[in-house]
Symmetry: C2
Subunit: 212 residues, 2 copies
DNA sequence: CCACGATGTATCGGACCGATACATCGCACC
DNA sequence: GGTGCGATGTATCGGTCCGATACATCGTGG
């Protein structure tokens, strides 16, 4: 998951670790708190070893060759390679169980503007299926096995069930929207969200991996 | 987290691994999919090594000493020890950042009927604080940095923000309820949840660790 | 002048997951 | 009568990710 997110972000611009973490936290803030450096740096190393990213030289052209005064221990800027872009395209296009879990879905969704419509639809439907199953499980529990559980556990289930129902409705709207035309303009009731003027969706001209 | 959950469940009845997993999935179904055996069995081993649980002999009294016909490779039933109960009491009473995260909060909440009221209140308030901060972060993002994000990412944030607002309201009600009297009787709008007859809360006679 | 918060890179131990393996039992279907 | 399949049951392995920790630089305000 981290791998996908990093490749996706570096596709927009070269970045160093700290910056990457901030962008990651911004983009995925809705689904996870903050990425740990204990995950980030090892993953960067792994991606570099695989040849999907490289270190970019941080010389802004106007840098006199000031040699090892303090050995120049600075930030390390990474950029994505051609192979990295291919890898990203491959990861973003694949659907499956891991794509439907909370984290996996969130990351994939965050990069939907780089995903073709057919895949978007498959992911949304898979996610809906997954949540519907979770919902049924909770319903059963609250129906049949209710007397075995204490009041607090029951309340937790009830809250979870409501969240499931809400998410299914949300997905429903996204799917309908996706089928009939273009991007995510879910109607609002007025709560949540600022001014919300246009935020024009990306024109349905499929963001594709350039293949020269 | 798993440690806490296992000790909590074994406090109700001795169980073997498979059963434990099912109960765990039932009790925590609202917050996590299913516990992996790759976590469960090593944790059981760890708890046993620490002396907090022991293997119970599975002899239902009417078992003739039928010796090693197929070497009797059966289920292993675990039960909690006195030290285990103390450990549980210690874990359940502590509050802190890890108690306010999604998983941590869920597990603690699921065992609220074994938690004293003061701790319940501290946890609920800490959780509310945490979610409020997440909410503010998302609000800021949707307000100021909106133009930097694409439509899908924005929609994800909006959905996340709504979930935060909803959870804060939920916590608000639980806190109010907790302060003024007894257990979790959050008023409903009719959706989510079955018959919901009484589900009498445990009488506020603090479930305590017996200290003989 | 120096303390403090933001920026920045990095490692280590541990928690947890997903895949996999394997063995038993009861029941339905042929 | 057999046979295959799903539920029950225990267990390990590799890998991902987190939380704590360490340490160095820079700008700013007291």
């Amino acid at each position: 998951m981290l791998e996908l997110a990093i490749l996706g972000l570096l596709q927009e611009a070269p970045m160093h670790g700290y910056e990457l973490r901030k962008e990651l936290t911004a983009k995925l803030g809705a689904i996870r708190a903050a990425i740990s450096y204990g995950s980030l740096y090892p993953t960067l190393r792994r991606l570099q070893a695989a040849g999907w990213i490289t270190e970019a030289d941080e010389t802004p052209a106007t840098a006199e060759e000031v040699p090892a005064l303090t050995s120049r221990r600075g930030r390390v800027v990474y950029e994505i390679t051609a192979e990295g872009k291919e890898r990203f395209a491959q990861l973003i296009a694949q659907t499956g169980p891991e794509t439907y879990g909370d984290t996996g879905f969130g990351v994939h969704f965050a990069f939907f503007s780089r995903t073709d419509q057919a895949t978007r639809l498959r992911i949304l439907e898979g996610r809906r299926r997954t949540i519907e199953e979770r919902r049924e499980g909770l319903r059963d529990m609250l129906g049949r096995a209710a007397e075995r559980l204490d009041a607090y556990t029951l309340e937790l289930q009830r809250h979870g069930l409501e969240a499931c129902e809400r998410e299914v409705r949300w997905l429903e709207e996204l799917i309908a929207n996706e089928r009939s035309g273009r991007a995510p303009t879910v109607p609002h009731d007025g709560t949540a969200g600022g001014p919300r003027q246009d935020n024009s969706p990306p024109p349905p001209g499929e963001t594709r991996t350039e293949r020269p």
